[in-house]
Symmetry: D2
Subunit: 340 residues, 4 copies
Amino acid sequence: MKYSFADDYSEGAHTHILELLAQTNLEQQPGYGDDAICIKAQGLIKNAIKNPHADVHFVSGGTQANIIALASMLKPYESVITAESAHINVHEAGAVETTGHKINALPAKDGKITAEQIQEFIDLHFPVHMAKPKVVSITYPTELGTLYTKAELKRISTVCKKNDLYFYLDGARLGVGLTSQESDLTLPEISELVDIFYIGGTKNGALLGEAIVINRKELQDNFKYYIKQHGALLAKGRILGAQFIGLFTDNLYFDLAKHANLMAMKLSKGISQAGYSFLTPSPTNQIFPIFPNKLIDKLKKEYLFYPWQKIDNNSTAIRLVTSWATKEEAVDEFLKDLQK
Amino acid sequence: MKYSFADDYSEGAHTHILELLAQTNLEQQPGYGDDAICIKAQGLIKNAIKNPHADVHFVSGGTQANIIALASMLKPYESVITAESAHINVHEAGAVETTGHKINALPAKDGKITAEQIQEFIDLHFPVHMAKPKVVSITYPTELGTLYTKAELKRISTVCKKNDLYFYLDGARLGVGLTSQESDLTLPEISELVDIFYIGGTKNGALLGEAIVINRKELQDNFKYYIKQHGALLAKGRILGAQFIGLFTDNLYFDLAKHANLMAMKLSKGISQAGYSFLTPSPTNQIFPIFPNKLIDKLKKEYLFYPWQKIDNNSTAIRLVTSWATKEEAVDEFLKDLQK
Amino acid sequence: MKYSFADDYSEGAHTHILELLAQTNLEQQPGYGDDAICIKAQGLIKNAIKNPHADVHFVSGGTQANIIALASMLKPYESVITAESAHINVHEAGAVETTGHKINALPAKDGKITAEQIQEFIDLHFPVHMAKPKVVSITYPTELGTLYTKAELKRISTVCKKNDLYFYLDGARLGVGLTSQESDLTLPEISELVDIFYIGGTKNGALLGEAIVINRKELQDNFKYYIKQHGALLAKGRILGAQFIGLFTDNLYFDLAKHANLMAMKLSKGISQAGYSFLTPSPTNQIFPIFPNKLIDKLKKEYLFYPWQKIDNNSTAIRLVTSWATKEEAVDEFLKDLQK
Amino acid sequence: MKYSFADDYSEGAHTHILELLAQTNLEQQPGYGDDAICIKAQGLIKNAIKNPHADVHFVSGGTQANIIALASMLKPYESVITAESAHINVHEAGAVETTGHKINALPAKDGKITAEQIQEFIDLHFPVHMAKPKVVSITYPTELGTLYTKAELKRISTVCKKNDLYFYLDGARLGVGLTSQESDLTLPEISELVDIFYIGGTKNGALLGEAIVINRKELQDNFKYYIKQHGALLAKGRILGAQFIGLFTDNLYFDLAKHANLMAMKLSKGISQAGYSFLTPSPTNQIFPIFPNKLIDKLKKEYLFYPWQKIDNNSTAIRLVTSWATKEEAVDEFLKDLQK
């Protein structure tokens, strides 16, 4: 096996982050995220999003972040509107439903839903008999690597306000979204548009860890009960804090994401030049080239990746993922092997 | 207001059923469905389905029957495959999700899903990351009034067995399904094809009450705990039993359903003859004519019914429902008013 | 078998209630409790409790009323404080926990908890790590037939307000409580003290039905979603409305309860005079005499009742329950048989 | 502040464990625990418990391990029997109830329940109306630091088998239990007695991580769905595996635990010699001395620890916890300060 392009969590952590963990390792600190390390990390994040009134909490993974954040926004009879391709709808083993809530999945071209779709869905609501929509959840970038524009998010935000809905953003890969050459958004701008979102660490250089940011005041109280109740309150919360100190110092979070994008763009360009097309154009670290099945069989012997969607009897879209750790030589090698 | 065609539960119960309630009213009986009246009703139903090994339980309503039956078949990480138009997916306020389970809603022409769709969906299952499909749930007749054929149900049953899925049938309007002129199924045949189903009483002449039938042995044990836990175990279970004695004596259940169908067919025929078409052809007691909006506005002043689906800017499909209690004069009057 | 003193739901409904059901039976009415019959019943109840601003909803049974009311008051991490002997803690198959909430069960002499106990429990709360108490739930009369005094309820109400807790009352047997010779409370007084309570119909002359009363404004909105979601929204809600019209016309609710108490007091007096003592003194329709096991074996041959608690190797407390339907001759016969 | 005896998770990880994380850090590995590192760790644990047929899964924390393991053993209407002082009953914010299950908490002298208590509780079960007990959950050592003897566990195991109950063990502090001078059990012996248990890493030298061991075959299938569904399936599962390789190589797990016990015994002995008594004798790393409140006020200025239980107006039991990282000088200093 030459290299894995299967995902962006095949390696451990960026070296700097491991060093930070080691540096503070034997300090005695309070448990459950009440430590000085987490408090420092929270401060760095509040600076980065330019919202001193936000609350920041750290949890271990993306599914955890999603179910906890959504549970905090929903009454038992309320539902979440999202794209049918959303991670919460497809790849979390029904975790949101496990907490008792229906997902209203809307058709989503390129993984994105629109303000108009949301309004139409709301207009069809039949009180008492249907679960009541209360949250719109989007992923940035989407599960297909695509990006909402600032204008699109503003329209969704407006629809949410008009219909008394919360706006939630799953930022598992927020870094590659914000640093994509096609993004027209900054971190503070994203933050200002939504009520709760999370900044993904696991897929951008941390061992584990996602930072949940709560902008809306009414959602901040008692949030930690939700974390505890779902088994997500780490005794040694400090290890999440330390990693986010690393990520939000000296621009590391964005630098790592830029590298991932750079590698993906190099891959995309090479694949295009070799004459292949894509399932959907992606300006971030997940790309979906369409290859002949024979080529895929050959590549599979040396590279790890997931088949994504059958196109016809002879060809299939696959998913290639790059990350902060992707080696440029591996990309070069893959492109060379493509042309053999 | 002249008449309501809004639903099939606008009246109370068939007179015979009220009489039965009165007859046994002051007998002392054990509570919670352990009474002689329920036992007699269970016997009548087991005879009617020709399965002496079935277990029969009575609950108050259809949503209750669905969530209890499904909960008894599903582990926490398992999901239900059904039509996107299914009552459990649209009109139960997220009740199935409240019990923790994801619904996998498949596109459904005329409210029906096919064995092929189910197999394709199963083939896409990605273990651990997706909720695991375990039950196929269909409605007979569907929410659009349509009927599965015996051959279609056999194919679904085969797919279920092949993939180790349970097969569940929501029989809220089972009577009008089985007595439709287009049905090629009998009650024992339906029963034999599925693992659990329920026979709807509320929409076919009872005050309230649905009879859940459990054919599969492994699902029978401890079922009553599910009923109790969901607040569905009536202290005076006898009142459900008495009603099903009424319904399953002297063919009443089927006679009432036949009347509902007859009235619907008369309505359909008249509407067709008046030159209107239908959203979908329905051989049961719910029909969906497409009318000009102006006509609808006029009819609304004298009749109750639900608008169902916008067709274009000038016309809308509405839903007309008949029942065991529908008066033929009301049907005649409606058809006359249509042509004014 | 001569007679059953097993419970207060061995018979059907009071004749007058059956008549009311028959009277309105063939009127066409809207479904789901939006009918004129329910609206009239709601008005009668709001008059009876002297709170025109209350919301009233009807459901089928007590467990249903409890889980729905509690779910509407609790966030996912919040818990209910109640007596360890409470129906919600012991005899609802874990229904409250099924909706995700912890019950904090306090030791309860005679089935009652005190304001002091509640405050002590609150004082031990350890934020984030313990479920957060939010509702105090009492039963009036308690599961042991005992009654809180007005002063006791006021103290509990004060503790609830002080600690920002809701106060809920399970009134499955409210009638026999309020009409007991030892009660110092009226229906409007009870109602004013609590945020939500329910008036039990099933155990006081109805076929089925409990009236949930919501006094607190903030708890009224969207309550019907909870009812629907738990499968408790009857299509023919009218049948619950009709029964409560019967119960709250011409004092029937209280007259029926008085009869039950009268029969229980006659039983108690006779048992005392025959030289037996009681597990706990009860001024309502459930009494708990302590009998020698030999006597119990003899009585069991002719009467139905539940053994309640082992006292020693030779004697056991049993539960005898009277109701609106209890025949005085049966009481006389039982007392005679006791002395044989 | 001189030192914290507040808990056994005030420091990060044992140095050797950090080194292991760094060593494998940049290897590409599959996600979600399917990596070579986890597989190696699972092998080491299966050796240590002497059960090659066990399944081993890694999760982040104790509450997570408990809710996932219990959810996998329980149907919706089933409950867990445990000690009233159990972590799952008191300090997990109602997490078990959040998954829908009732906890039957039994009075527990010294944190332990007995086989006799369990049988008595089972004997009182009233089918359908009570949640059905299905799992007995104990903590070893208990939350009060006490230990079950081999004979006690065997009796509980026998009662479980007799009543068709699963036997579960919360091993958050299993290391200090097994290495206590008062333990008469080995790791393989403990493992053989129970159906599922977990080996705590967080409180014994890991950054985070608990190893769930499933001995019972029928409980092994599809267990990973539960992990995923609760947001507990780490993308980089490797970091849990690496730590357990460290803990289960060269006896590290037991050596670290022995140190914690040694420090606790030194503290205990010193406190005894200083003339103080204990709430309950504890042979493990949590001890509960009773001090005058004035002394506690003085100690609080220099040491961190939790007050545990009010004894009388002048004295309180506090909890002192030692760990693998506790410095002997800190213990000496504390004992010296005690006598000032």
